[in-house]
């Protein structure tokens, strides 16, 4: 049974990892379309480029943070499950 709990934890971790990567890609592409339009309009083109870069960096940081927390929680859960298994 313990093997299955470990498996479930791993599956959730995989789902969050792959899910955030896929959603991050969509997020950046959709936002990129809007920024590309703004970057072609002379009065706002320069600030739009700056905001675009800041936005992408911020988005990347947020998704990386989600994945890091996911990995830490997954690793903690693995340890907790192993300890519980040892005690039983």
């Amino acid at each position: 049974m313990s093997k299955r709990w470990h498996g479930l934890a791993l599956l959730v971790r995989d789902a969050v990892e792959h899910g955030t990567r896929a959603v991050e890609k969509v997020h950046l592409e959709l936002a990129g379309r809007t920024f590309t339009v703004l970057e072609h309009i002379p009065p706002v083109d320069a600030p739009a480029r700056v905001v675009h870069k800041v936005h992408d960096a911020y988005v990347g940081t947020v998704y990386t943070a989600i994945r890091t927390v996911n990995q830490v929680v997954g690793a903690t859960l693995d340890v907790a499950l192993s300890e519980r298994n040892d005690r039983e």
Binding site: S2, R4, W5, G7, L8, L10, L11, V23, K25, V26
Partner: protein
């Protein structure tokens, strides 16, 4: 609770079982003979055994008849075959599971001398039986000459149209140049190798001439057009009969039966199906 959990894990294996196996996930089911939901430690010394292989996203519980019996128990009572129920990860490719079944049968004959192995495959299980036999013939495995008969119940020998439709939808979605649609296409592509294999329109492996093959297909209606198109709702009659109706085949006509009024799920546990199996075995004694 136990059976529900086992079924939930079987469904999970069917959907993403290849990923689970690839990543060494503890939820991946290893192929084994099972009894009362647990792997069988001792396969026994019976000389004649019936090996039953379930279908996609199932457990061996699919064989249970409404009265509590199953084909395996009836085969034992009527013909003396000791039943062995296989459980496996139905999300892996049919070839991988065929290899695993061939290994399991090799271990079965290595454990004790056997006189006969009867194979019964339901749905995807029938394709796995074919794949295992093919591999055993290439490698001259010791168990293959012991197989005299194989029964294929609702087996999509020529593929399942639902998976083919899934392939088309998935391919169309992938062509749309929109990130959101691409994401949906990626989700659609997540289905397992086992499911994708079911879309193959022709099983690449011929039926071995050394075995007597018996095919049962279901049809919900007697109306010919709807029967050809939908069959038992999952497998069209032309696929369940391996194209038998399309022209002269290697199989004798008496080895192919279409049972009217049975859905795909019914075929794994219906008295009419066992009656047909019984009749064939009686004729072939």
């Amino acid at each position: 609770m136990g059976k529900k959990l086992e079924l939930a894990i079987a469904i999970l294996n069917g959907v993403v079982g290849d990923h689970l196996a690839r990543t060494g996930n503890g939820l991946a089911t290893d192929m084994a003979f099972v009894r009362d939901g647990r792997p069988v430690a001792d396969v026994g010394s019976d000389e004649r055994v019936a090996v039953l292989v379930h279908g996609l996203m199932c457990t061996e519980d699919i064989w249970r008849l409404p009265d509590g019996g199953d084909y395996g128990a009836s085969l034992q009572a009527d013909f003396g075959y000791a039943p062995l129920y296989v459980r496996y990860n139905s999300g892996r490719s049919i070839e991988s599971n065929g290899r695993a079944l061939a290994t399991l049968l090799s271990e079965l004959v290595a454990a004790h001398p056997r006189r006969e192995i009867l194979l019964v495959g339901y749905s995807m299980g029938g394709l796995i039986v074919r794949s295992a036999c093919h591999l055993a013939s290439l490698e001259e495995q010791a168990w293959l000459p012991l197989v005299k008969r194989a029964f294929y119940l609702a087996t999509p020998h020529r593929g399942a149209p639902m998976e083919r439709a899934g392939r088309v939808v998935s391919a169309l979605l992938a062509r749309v140049p929109d990130p959101t649609v691409e994401l949906i296409a990626q989700l659609a592509e997540l289905r397992s190798a086992g499911i994708k294999n079911l879309g193959d329109s022709r099983h690449p492996i011929a039926m071995l001439p050394s075995i007597r093959h018996y095919l049962i297909a279901g049809s919900l209606r007697n109306e010919p057009f709807l029967t050809e198109l939908f069959g038992d709702t999952m497998v069209p009659v032309s696929s369940g009969t391996d194209g038998y109706r399309a022209g002269p085949r290697a199989l004798p006509p008496s080895h192919v039966k279409v049972l009217a009024g049975l859905s795909h799920m019914d075929i794994a546990h219906h008295p009419d199906v066992y009656r047909q199996i019984h009749e064939w075995l009686e004729e072939d004694r």
